[in-house]
Symmetry: D2
Subunit: 462 residues, 4 copies
């Protein structure tokens, strides 16, 4: 299981609204459907045609915004952001959107993803005299745009040509809204119609929530400008090649989102089915269980093809939040569990196929298997519906260093022993290509095939 | 779907710890596993052998208690309570445990269930001079105990003989802890071993969380006394007959709990299987979906027997809480949804079997079916894995009046039309008896077969 | 200085409104003017002619109540309470008003003062079968009322005859409001006209705030009933003798209150004048300073008569609240101060007359004198504008035991040495009688002349 | 009375610590003594020799910081800021310190005052490509420093030469701390020794609180660098002329602060004495009263010289805070007061000399006089211990436009009639020079004699 609490990464969500009354409130609901992408900070910027205003803070959307705050964010256009904690997590300067008052007017930027040449750009900008308040890539984007010539559309296009990496960002000005997706489409972004206006979201699950009608995904390298004159599309480069992030399908996105034509639940379920096909005749088990909630779809697929009953063997506690009291050391030693607990009467005496989405450091898998065995499971056969995670991601999923990825240090058999599984199997990249229907995905975290140069990050994968 | 937000009921959870260091912290974790039973108030009382202390407040456990509060609740024994809002919900006087300083020492009581003769007892006690600060049944219990003769064990037994209804309660004194379950065992309660001591919980799911070993359910009519001299069991009456509440199995309890020998997940899954058997050859559908999270187990069972693929057609947003901003009326009209949204790419063009646990007022079912059809579902066949809910409950599930129960007003066909389903089917009481394996259940909400006299509530069912 | 943070006492404030629209909001403002009497808890009960509702919590009024709460407390009648922390301070059960649902209807009680025979009454009531949830005297009053015969007015009168001590309380029923003051008038209570209705307050400073017109003080032993039929007065006993608490004049009340005809500021200023007269020719000093805020009026008087300039030698920080970060031990050792700091340029090189209202344990006086000397003061002549505090109070000012009162352990010269003053003088009881104009005051804390029997408290003064 | 709630200004406070263990906690206490200078936002930056960290938020210090936050701000050096709300008050981007990561390392800036050529500098910087996140002058300072050549000391000096206006700011780097005061010394700043290190504060009242020993005021135009190598002083310009802001003495500063050798309480008291001298034989009154807390010192002086008794005629409620419930319109009409109320028994029938510090818009004075007359005052003679406030300030006291200053629109007699006083008198600038002992003060708000060019603000005084 990709454990959001233990791993360091920067996945976030962005949502925008253009041309709809009370845009900030609609923003709130659209953003709320992206809350699973980031729970450590949230912000909303809104413009009423003449001013751009911004509010943000630490925590969940519902902790940051009160009903009366919506009045402080008037206007028909809005962008917003939900954010995961990172190393520098407690600095409010990194919570987005980031607002800049510049020569060309006021701009707010909300950004998902990671710029791989950020260090180089930052150094260049600092040498040129720029100063930064936080460490977010959004500030770099703002500085680059400001430094280019031409009208804002040209400035944005020129700035984007300087950026390498995976990114999707929204820019709000006094009058317009711009949506940009990197030339590989590494990070997702799609557009829908809502009322007389538009909305743009990291995931299409936002659209159902506000009853918006999906139009299409933003294309790799595309800049879409929303203004009162209509919608304009252009590309910042001709060098585009779709390479959508596989991890979005594997565990980031909500099952009711559809990205670049592929529904998340369906994609996951298919990986489960394929795994069952590959297991045929090889594993003798009684039941299939998932690790809630991320591998549920895959477990459904495995059960469907294998004919093994799907059971609820692990339960997730929904009420663990930021202000939760931690167990004492003594209680930890006693075995007090917080997030996941086993369903003893379901697993006792059973040979279990445990479907999980991925193994990053291995510690969570080890804990889950031990928990199941303590609860009486006879065998635990772990099936990971993705390939071995061997290379760090620099496109928005910051898994720190290669050394921390357990699959980069050991082979499948060693890993099996380490986590205490009775058997362990992964899918291959070819399996994923089969399921996803093509080659237009980034599998760099599995095979190191990065789609861009890595700049200063190159050393992290040595 | 039994919609906790719209229906009025009083289901709660109690948890106790005896003879374990830092009892209040352990209490916190045990209670936390019962949070699904009540999110509107929480309280913990602890005793250190000489004093009983109590803290409580509105909201989730994590909102009521901070880490430093645990120091204010020292001792090896503890009881706690999580509570659902009721009509008089904002009165702090009803949040439990309730502490009483009386002739016989200090007693704290935490209570789950409903005393049907509460009005009569209250009037009798008021006539005798008692005064009440809140409207909870716990206060009545405290007054009754105080009014009886004998040692505390005798007082409790005598007081219990005066009570009719469904109840499970814990009493904490300076030195001892008592666990009591009504003579029909309507409300659940079970005991486990933890460290050198014991814990008692409304649901056994608390036990896995703190690594406690299940011992047994408290028996109908049993009073268990935990003291430093050991554990003593007695019965307050010989007139006991197990009649466990069927609704606990249908929707209240967590799937990883086991009550009176029957695992919740398994019981639910079996109802889904039975429904599929009864549907054989009758329904022509493409997929099965559940209403998260309560009918998930049943949907697994239906899929297993019917062979129809189980899909994720509805998604629940986990982040809707008490401080959430509500949509404007205009946005409601636009169709902004908060808790549940459809997965359009999964349901579009499909003939769906929708598994739900129950229909109370019908409004939620109607909304869900409309939502699915808007998202493109071709047909929605609703399968309720419980019988028609026709009679109000007076044993802890306060569904107000009979008139509000849609099944008491119309037959299945009328109901089908009202909610807009293409077909609608319920299980029967006999089906449940088959699944649950016996007759020792209370099915009063389905057939009006109340296991006790109803006193002043009789008029509600006319 | 009577240091509210170090001493244990139970002084509180009560405020009531009868016959005015939005009574709870007006209650809020009237109570707010009494906030100096208690900052640890606040509560408001309101009735709309048919129901009595109550809300309360820990902390300041502004922390307990939000604007929207006022809607939950509809009606034209209201009572409220602000409360000081006591030993059992963290128990919400003690926060008032306390609501009782009894045979005779719903009653809410808010109470200021202390019942000296509380232990005896509690024991009697417990023997009779009553149970208590908290430790406040209000609960005893409620039980007593309920236990008596007759209409409510008679019940209250009979109950009051059982009470000994200092008390002022308000009772709110569905339709009426009762205001009661003990037969010695130990605790203050007065009535005013506001709009078409009435208000009742522990201090008349509440009246200016809401533009109410003072009518008169409630008389010792009087019960005033406010109903839609008008205002009725009666006395629960003929054995009344006015003995107002001197400490109200010395430090409790706000300077803009007038109690039993004597304005607080004026009374305090006169004590300062008298001290200056008594000091004539005896003390050679440069300036007079006060301990903010309690001895400011007296210092004005001393300066006026002595001709010595009044200066601001000590400053109080207004922003020290409950959530304040405490200094580390190291910082304490360094001399970090929080509440009071000296004005070095005013005190350096000066011979100072320091006016203070009282000395309880002596620790605060010692700290202030040391602070002034460190800041360069040449001499500090302490003048206490009240007599030596030698006996504990049992009428609402709980100063725990006699042993903690420094003046009961040493004479003036020893005390002077202990606190490090260059000279030290107190007023006498006769001085106070001269200033206050009569003998109708309780001076028990100075001379042990308690106006009632002390019951179980007698041992505390041995 | 200068009503902080109604007027718009930007007065703030800064505090710094260098070379003391747990600098952030000491910072907290020093800053806390400056809380009267700003209650709308607070922030602390700390450095441990290698990193600069920053935390900030809206509200009081005690609302922004919790005890555990101090651990997140390790190190021996710190700067902090308390801030008043301004027009753009809700933007967190303006809360200081502001942190910048630049070519030359990380810098945090906390700033008090106003740069009059901010618009010009901002435009110049924007033309050069700089972008701004907020509207605070601190960001301009950071950009200017970054844009200059040389070592940091030289960069700061060059940047300061570009700034015109009143300012005092602190800069924290990984290793050093810089304290800078504008060349006129318009805004105050002084230095003290604490433990083995130093502290720097807007007001010396911070020093007593943490037991620091005052060394001296920072000189106009001076830059003091604190490093582990010692303390270095230099001047950014030779064109320095002391012109301390008179308003600091009149109402901003705490009475226990001493600025440029003049104690605030003493300066205020002297203005009261001088007013009494000028009144000799002219006013026939019974008592003197102050408007708490700002004119208390002056009222003491007036009483001392005039021989009229000083009384407490107005009382300030200490508990009015940000979350306070506001009266309904009906209650306002009834006369509900929140912050100030009269002491009726003191003022009734009296001819009053009311000492106030200043009149800005006149609305507060009018309300106070009406309140006193309603309470029975026979005559109210208003004495303002400062000259008529006719010109807006651009050096840190932003009183918006000239038109809002009532004294710029009417003469003293018209003003007297407007506010309803029986007589009205102001001091003159010459009076203040006499009291303050010299000409080295800025009296621009009284006579328009601005000590710098006004740039774009010139139009505001036409």
């Amino acid at each position: 299981m990709f454990d959001f609490m233990n791993e360091l990464h920067e996945e976030c969500g962005v949502f925008g609204v253009f041309g709809v009354e009370d845009a900030a409130t609609l923003e709130y609901f659209g953003l709320h459907a992206l809350q699973h992408r980031g729970q450590e900070g949230a912000g909303i910027a809104a413009s009423d045609g003449s001013s751009v205003r911004c509010m943000k803070g630490h925590g969940l959307l519902s902790e940051v915004f009160k009903t009366t705050d919506m009045e402080k964010l008037p206007g028909q256009n809005s962008i917003g952001h939900v954010r995961y904690a990172t190393a520098g997590g407690h600095e409010l300067a990194n919570v987005q959107p980031i607002l800049a008052r510049a020569k060309i007017g006021t701009l707010a930027v909300a950004h998902n993803g990671q710029i791989v040449n950020a260090d180089e750009l930052r150094e260049e900008l600092e040498n040129r005299g720029s100063i930064f308040q936080g460490t977010s890539d959004s500030e770099i984007i703002l500085h680059l745009i400001q430094g280019e010539r031409g009208n804002l559309m040209e400035k944005i296009a020129k700035a984007c040509r300087r950026l390498e990496g995976g990114f999707a960002f929204l820019i709000l000005t006094e009058k317009n809204l711009y949506a940009i997706r990197d030339r590989h489409g590494l990070r997702p972004l799609s557009v829908a119609k809502v009322g007389d206006g538009y909305c743009i979201s990291s995931e299409s699950c936002s659209f159902s929530v506000i009853n918006a009608q999906f139009i299409r995904d933003v294309r790799p390298g595309e800049i879409i400008k929303f203004s009162t004159h209509g919608v304009e599309s252009s590309f910042y480069t001709e060098d585009c090649e779709k390479k959508t992030c596989a991890m979005e399908y594997i565990y980031f996105a909500r099952p009711d989102s559809t990205m670049d034509g592929l529904n998340i639940h369906t994609a996951r379920k298919e990986t489960g089915k394929l795994m069952a096909l590959k297991d045929r005749g090889e594993v003798d088990a009684d039941i299939v269980i998932d690790v809630p909630d991320s591998s549920r779809s895959a477990a459904m697929g495995y059960s469907e093809v294998s004919g093994l009953p799907l059971e609820m063997g692990l339960i997730k506690n929904r009420y663990v939040g930021r202000t939760f009291i931690n167990p004492t050391q003594k209680q930890r030693d006693m075995g007090v569990k917080l997030k996941l607990s086993p369903n003893p009467d379901v697993v006792a005496g059973k040979r279990i196929v445990l479907i999980d989405d991925s193994i990053v450091r291995g510690t969570t898998s080890k804990r889950i298997i031990a928990m199941l065995k303590e609860a009486g499971a006879k065998e635990v056969h772990v099936r990971i519906v993705s390939p071995e995670f061997k290379f760090p991601c620099f496109y928005g999923v910051d898994t720190s260093t290669k050394g921390e990825l357990i699959s980069s240090r050991m082979d499948v058999e060693q890993l099996r022993q380490t986590i205490g599984a009775d058997s362990l199997k992964f899918l291959t990249i070819d399996d994923l290509k089969l399921v996803y229907g093509g080659d237009h995905f980034c599998f760099a975290c599995f095979d190191g095939g990065y789609v861009t140069d890595l700049y200063s990050h190159r050393q992290s994968i040595q």
